[in-house]
């Protein structure tokens, strides 16, 4: 480097005031100075593109779509569950920690009668496995009773089967807790319809707009005293578009 270059590079550095990330203090007064949210605490948005990661079997995908769209059908209040992205939501959840049952206790021993005793059934199988066996069994049930795919049945007939599952009058198979499987699907379709759109469902915040939920706002003190009034607050996603 000759003198001219040296001076030029120096003055360039000074003029722009080079920004150096490496010179950050790692710790001040015993707590971290880095206030970027740690990766493990950041939300895990749905993998985009609508490509299925878990629900790859075509029949299973059709069956669960049919179920979801009977649980939340399209009507004048809003789109159906699948139109609102609930299948994308479900697939993404099953592909991640929820699907792995990461927060569930899944060790044995599981004693006969334990479910009745605890009133909430315990599952050794992961939610992902329960969907796999459950959807297969539901399809087999439809083929057996109606000679057709569940997805191809008339809506009324679909409702009838679902109701039977809910009430416990239908058992899909010996090793499947049919009622609990129904409840799992009901829980997940609701979650998909009303959770933040970054997770794949609640597309365009249709669920939130439907019930007037203002979304991921940090602070409600602003409106806390407007009791009984229609707030008409715009719904906001955790990661807004603009």
């Amino acid at each position: 480097m000759n003198r001219r270059e040296a001076l030029k590079s120096l003055s360039a550095l000074i003029a722009t005031g080079a920004v150096a990330a490496s010179a950050r203090a790692s710790e001040m007064q015993g707590y971290p100075s880095n206030l970027a949210v740690a990766d493990e605490f950041l939300p895990r948005p749905a993998m985009d593109g609508g490509k299925m990661h878990v629900l790859t079997d075509e029949t299973a995908l059709k069956t669960v779509t049919a179920v979801f769209d009977r649980l939340i059908p399209a009507d004048d209040l809003g789109p159906s569950a699948s139109e609102a992205g609930c299948i994308v939501f479900l697939d993404s959840q099953l592909a991640d920690r929820f699907g792995q049952g990461a927060q569930l206790y899944r060790e044995g021993p599981k004693l006969p009668g334990a479910d009745e005793l605890t009133q909430a059934p315990q599952f050794i199988a992961t939610p992902r496995e329960r969907y796999e066996t459950g959807l297969k069994a539901l399809e087999a049930y439809a083929q057996q009773t109606d000679g057709a795919a569940f997805a191809d049945l008339q809506p009324d007939r679909q409702d009838e089967i679902l109701q039977g599952m809910e009430e416990g009058s239908i058992s899909l198979a010996d090793d499947i807790n049919t009622k609990a499987f129904f409840e799992l699907m009901l829980q997940n379709v609701r979650e998909g319809y009303f959770s933040d759109p970054i997770y794949g469902g609640n597309k365009d915040m249709v669920g939130w707009k439907l019930i007037g939920f203002p979304g991921a706002r940090y602070d409600y003190r602003l409106y806390a005293d407007r009791v009984g009034q229609k707030l008409d607050l715009e719904s906001i996603s955790l990661i807004p578009l603009d």
């Binding site: 000074i14 920004v19 990330a21 007064q29 707590y31 759109p197 706002r217 603009d242």
Partner: protein, 435 residues
């Protein structure tokens, strides 16, 4: 402390100026005659002051001059080794404990004066990363007291090779002679350091505030005609602290200013980054009187010429987007009307630094910010990073909004300013496009 690294970068490059100055040997800049008041016989390693009062005063001088911040790395007080990154390699601070072999144990009091006030150390000319340019103002009395204090520091054997990691020609100490000739104002303080001019003395001598708060010319020397009008420090910006009422401290009361300096926040402004370090290591140890003296002096510093802007029109679509983003993300801490939460989160309404250079505000949004934690205000308030949920445009919208609401008025932030900090700070990108 780490932020001194960036400052030194600016100063250090000036070593290059040597070339300009070769040939001029005799110079006022290297004259050390006035240090004849100091003893030149007894080495520090052989001296231990017994004058308790002088030692205590010396410790106070050490605090006001923040020596420990730069000269301590890890546990060993004053044993040096604190690295200051520069574009030409790393400069490491000296061991200034009284250790005979690796510290300054062999220095006499006069040698010490020469090093601290004139930048002439045991190995030759010092790099101006050691702020002797400011310490030249330290009075004889303060230097004597500091010397007494230094004699009480525990000797630590810790060998330091300050400039070994610096590339040629920047490792040539003689280069600093040239720099000094051009930029070092080798003069004693010209006022009443313990009386009427106490504030100016603390600011210009020990406090070395202008090292950060004055802008620099193309060669990296402080622009004396822009004294305290704001300077870039790597990823930080040390704001205008002249009496300018818009972007400076002209509008802030002496009491509020003193509170900020002594505790890190006055509810309006909160000290982060290098300023938090100055507060934690140095300013919080100062007496109430000295803080008030500094504050009064700052308010007497002629205002910079920066004019007030006209606020952006609140009905602009971008201002409306910013308003919503503020309500949703920020109002919980900074208040619905930008009034802040006392010591927990600074007010943005009427926040002067916020209306000047947007650098620190962008930085706060990108990587968050942590306020000083002091003996009186124990919890350094934190501002979370928003890089994961806002893209550059969204950051611009919300910053334009806070800089132009509640009576604030400032220039719109440019995408280049935001991009520079996102890239430079290695802040993450927004996670997904959003919904």
């Amino acid at each position: 402390m780490a932020n001194y690294k960036k400052i030194s970068t600016r100063i250090l490059v000036l070593g290059a100026v040597v070339i300009v100055a070769v040939g001029f040997w005799a110079s006022r800049s290297s004259n050390t005659e006035r240090n004849a008041v100091a003893d030149d016989n007894v080495a520090l390693a052989d001296f231990r002051s017994t004058d308790i009062e002088a030692i205590q005063r010396g410790e106070y001088v050490m605090r006001t001059a923040d020596c420990a911040a730069c000269h301590t790395q890890g546990k060993n007080n004053m044993a040096g080794g604190y690295p200051l990154a520069t574009p030409f390699g790393t400069l490491v601070s000296s061991n200034i404990t009284p250790d005979r072999d690796t510290g300054i144990g062999q220095m006499t009091e006069r040698d010490f004066f020469n090093a601290v006030r004139n930048g002439q150390g045991s190995k030759g000319f010092l790099y101006p990363a050691m702020p002797y340019t400011a310490y030249a103002n330290l009075t004889d009395q303060d230097m004597h007291d500091l010397w007494a204090y230094m004699s009480t520091v525990t000797p630590v054997n810790h060998a330091i090779d300050e400039n070994s990691a610096m590339a040629f020609p920047y490792n040539i100490r003689l280069a600093m002679l040239g720099w000094n000739m051009l930029f070092f104002d080798n003069k004693a303080f010209d006022g009443d350091a313990d009386g009427a001019d106490r504030g100016r003395y603390l600011v210009d001598a020990g406090g070395h505030c202008s090292v950060c708060h004055s802008p620099r010319n193309a060669l990296g020397a402080e622009k004396s005609d822009h004294y305290l009008q704001g300077g870039q420090l790597g990823s930080w910006y040390a704001p205008d602290i002249t009496s300018n009422p818009h972007v400076g401290i002209g509008d802030v009361s002496v009491e509020d200013l003193a509170e900020y300096l002594g505790t890190g926040t006055n509810g309006q402004a909160t000290a982060a980054g290098p300023m938090a370090e100055a507060v934690e290591h140095s300013l919080q140890y100062m007496s109430e009187d000295d803080l008030m003296a500094i504050a009064s002096y700052l308010k007497s510093v002629p205002a910079s010429k920066t004019k007030a802007h006209t606020a952006l029109d609140a009905s602009l679509p971008s201002m409306k987007r910013g308003a919503l983003a503020y309500e949703v993300n920020c109002a919980a801490c900074h208040g619905v009307e930008g009034e802040g939460m006392g010591e927990l989160a600074p007010a943005l309404a009427g926040n002067h630094a916020l209306q000047g250079e947007p650098n620190n505000a962008i930085r706060a949004l990108m990587v968050g910010a942590r306020a000083a934690a002091t003996h009186t205000k124990l919890t350094g308030a934190g501002m979370p990073s928003f890089a994961w949920k806002m893209n550059d445009q969204q950051i611009k919208d919300v910053l334009d909004y806070v800089r132009n609401s509640w009576g604030n008025a400032a220039q719109p932030v440019t995408p280049e300013q935001i991009e520079r900090i996102r890239v430079g700070m290695q802040a993450r990108d927004k996670m997904i496009d959003g919904y």
